[in-house]
C-alpha cells in the first residue's frame, strides 16, 4: 500500500508541474537560453583584436613580422604609423587595443644578433583579463616568427643558446571559453531547477496548510520528500540533455568522455541540490523567504564561487577555502574533466566522493528536518 501512497503523491506533483504552464515553459527553455547567452556573451577568448603598428624602420624584417600579424585571424591591423605619438589617441578612443612598436633599426638588430632586436607591445589593460590574453597571443606570433628566422640563418659559432618554447593548449586548443562555461552552466541549471524549484514547491505546501494534512496522513517524511523530488529530478535531467545538445549543436563544444558518466554525475549533483532545496524549505516559513534563501544561498555561490566564471586560483587566500563547501565547485571539476579531458572515474573519484558525501549528509538532514516537530 505504501507504494500506492507514494505513486498517488507523485502523480499529484507531476500534475502541479504540468499545470503551471508558464513556469514549465521557462524551466524547459532556460537551459537553451542560458547556453546561448552565456556562450555568446560570457566569453573570455579574444577575436579580431585591433592592432596599431608603429614602424619607423619599415625594413625587411619589420615588414615580415607585420605580415604575420596581418595574416593572423586573431588580429586586425587598424592603423600603421611611423611615430608612437599617433597611438595614444587611438587607445583613448578605443579604436585600438594593442600597439606593436618596432625600434628604428629593427632589421639591423635582427641580422647582427649580438644584441636582441626589440619591439614594444602596449596593451589597453582597462580590461585586465582581455589584456593578458591579447598579450599572450601577440607574444606567440612574435616568438614563432623569431623561431623561424633563427632556423633560416646559417649557424655561427658564437650563436647563443636559444630555448624554444612550444606551447600547446591541451583539451581546448583554440582556447574557446564556451567550452569552459558549458559544464558550469549545467551546474547552474541543475541548481536552479533542483534547489530553487523544490524549495518553492515545498514551502508552498507549508504556506497553504496542505503540508500539515500530509504530515497527519500515513505518508512518511521520506515519502513526501521523494515524491516531491523525483519529478523535479526528471525535469533537471531533461535540462541537462537540452544544455548539452545546445552546446554541441550551437557551439560545437567537444564531448570527449562518457555521456553516461556525466549523466550519472549530474544526477548525483541534482540530488545534492534537491536536498538543499528541501532543507531551505524546512527552515523558512514562506515561499518568498524560501526563494530568497535559495537564490542567495545556492545560485549566487554556484555562479560566483564555483570556479564557473572566476577561477578559484585567482581568489584571495581567505576566500578559496569557502569554495570547498559549494557542491557546484566539485561538480564543475567533474563535468569539465569528462567533457573536455575525456577522463573517467579513476581521475574523478575524489570529487565524486565529496558529492556522494554531501548528498548523504544533506538528504539525511532534509528527512530529519521534515519530521513533525516533536521537540
Amino acid at each position: 500500500m505504501r507504494h500506492g501512497a507514494l505513486r498517488a503523491f507523485m502523480a499529484k506533483e507531476v500534475r502541479h508541474i504540468l499545470r503551471d504552464r508558464q513556469t514549465l515553459t521557462i524551466l524547459l527553455l532556460m537551459p537553451l537560453v542560458q547556453v546561448v547567452l552565456f556562450g555568446f556573451a560570457l566569453r573570455s577568448d579574444v577575436h579580431d583584436v585591433r592592432l596599431v603598428i608603429v614602424d619607423p624602420a619599415q625594413d625587411v624584417a619589420s615588414l615580415s613580422l607585420r605580415s604575420r600579424f596581418a595574416s593572423s585571424s586573431r588580429f586586425r591591423i587598424v592603423a600603421t604609423t611611423r611615430s608612437a605619438s599617433a597611438v595614444e589617441p587611438l587607445f583613448r578612443r578605443g579604436d585600438a587595443e594593442v600597439a606593436l612598436a618596432f625600434e628604428p633599426d629593427f632589421a639591423g638588430r635582427v641580422a647582427s644578433r649580438t644584441e636582441p632586436a626589440r619591439v614594444r607591445l602596449s596593451v589597453d589593460a582597462s580590461d585586465p583579463n582581455t589584456a593578458t590574453v591579447i598579450q599572450s597571443y601577440a607574444r606567440a606570433v612574435i616568438a614563432q616568427w623569431a623561431e623561424e628566422r633563427a632556423a633560416d640563418m646559417p649557424a655561427v659559432a658564437v650563436r647563443p643558446v636559444r630555448i624554444a618554447t612550444a606551447v600547446r593548449m591541451r583539451f581546448n586548443p583554440t582556447l574557446e571559453s564556451v567550452n569552459l562555461f558549458v559544464p558550469g552552466l549545467i551546474a547552474l541549471v541543475l541548481t536552479l531547477v533542483s534547489a530553487l524549484m523544490t524549495a518553492i514547491s515545498l514551502s508552498r505546501e507549508k504556506e497553504r496548510g496542505t503540508m500539515e494534512v500530509l504530515l497527519v496522513s500515513p505518508l512518511r517524511p521520506w515519502q513526501i520528500i521523494v515524491g516531491k523530488v523525483l519529478p523535479y529530478l526528471a525535469l533537471a535531467f531533461a535540462n541537462v540533455i537540452t544544455a548539452l545538445l545546445a552546446a554541441w549543436l550551437v557551439f560545437h563544444v567537444p564531448f570527449r568522455g562518457s555521456v553516461l558518466l556525466l549523466l550519472g554525475e549530474s544526477l548525483l549533483y541534482a540530488v545534492v541540490s534537491l536536498a538543499l532545496g528541501v532543507l531551505i524549505a524546512a527552515r523558512t516559513s514562506s515561499q518568498r523567504a524560501a526563494m530568497m534563501v535559495a537564490m542567495v544561498g545556492t545560485l549566487l555561490p554556484s555562479t560566483l564561487l564555483s570556479g564557473m566564471i572566476f577561477p578559484i586560483a585567482s581568489m584571495p587566500a581567505w576566500l578559496a577555502p569557502f569554495t570547498t563547501i559549494i557542491p557546484a565547485r566539485w561538480f564543475i571539476v567533474v563535468a569539465r574533466g569528462i567533457m573536455l579531458k575525456g577522463v573517467g572515474l579513476p581521475y574523478l573519484w575524489r570529487e565524486t566522493l565529496v558529492l556522494v558525501g554531501m548528498a548523504l549528509v544533506l538528504m539525511l538532514a532534509a528527512v530529519r528536518s521534515f519530521k513533525p516537530r516533536l521537540a
Binding site: A5, G209, E212, L214, V216, P372, L374
Partner: protein, 248 residues
Amino acid sequence: MTAGELAISAHGLTRRFGSFVAVDHITFDVGAGEVFGFLGANGAGKTTAIRMLIGLLAPSDGSATVAGFDVVTQRAQLRRRIGYMSQRFSLYGDLTVRENIELYGGIYGLSDADIDSRTSALLDSLGLARSAGDLVATLPLGWKQKLAFSVALLHEPAIVFLDEPTGGVDPITRRQFWELIYAAAARGTTVFVTTHYMDEAEYCDRICVLVDGTIAALGTPAALKAEHGVATVDELFVQLARGAKVTA
C-alpha cells in the same frame, strides 16, 4: 457505537513553549460516535491540543490515546485511523475535484477499486458529480469546505478532527456543513471539532470550554447552561472567559 468505548482519552495533557503553558493538564474522554465540541477564544490552546492529539506535536507532560493508540509511541497506526481537516483550506486548487479525492485515497492506501467507488459515492452525495473535472480553485468556498470534509472521511477514519472547519463560511453553508457532521456521526464516526461559533456548540453532544489552556467547563450544552444559569452557550462562554481574566 459501543457504549463505554473511548475514542479519545487524555490525561493531564500539557504542552509548554518555553515558559508559556499553552495547554495545562487537561483530562477528558470522548466516547465513540460522539460529536465533541472544543471551544475557546483565540489562543486558548485549542489548536495546540488538537495538534497533540493527531501526533503533530509531542506533549510536554501527560498522555493521550486516540482510537486506542498512544499519540506519542503509536503515531504510525494512529494516522491510519484518523481524519484531519485543518483551519486552512487543505485541498489543491490546481487539481480537479476528482484528482483531489484520488490523491487522498491513494495516500491513505485505498485500492483503486475502492477509490473509484468511494469517489462516485462522494460526488453524488455532495451533488458535485458534474463538477468532478473542474479545478478545485474554481469552486465556491462553501463547496470547497464540504469537499475537504468529505475527503477527510474518505478512508473511513474512526475519528475525524476538524479545526475551525466553518471559518469564513455563510450561515446556510455552515448549517449544511453540520448536516454532514451529523451524517458522519450517525455512521459511527467520532467528530472532534473546534469552533468559536457558539451557536455551533449547541449542535454538539458534549462541549469542552478551554480558557487559558485549562478546562473551564465540560458537559452537555444543556447541563452546562443549567449549571451556570445561562440561556445560551454564548453567555456561558462569556461568563467563563471573564472569570478567567479576573483570576489571571
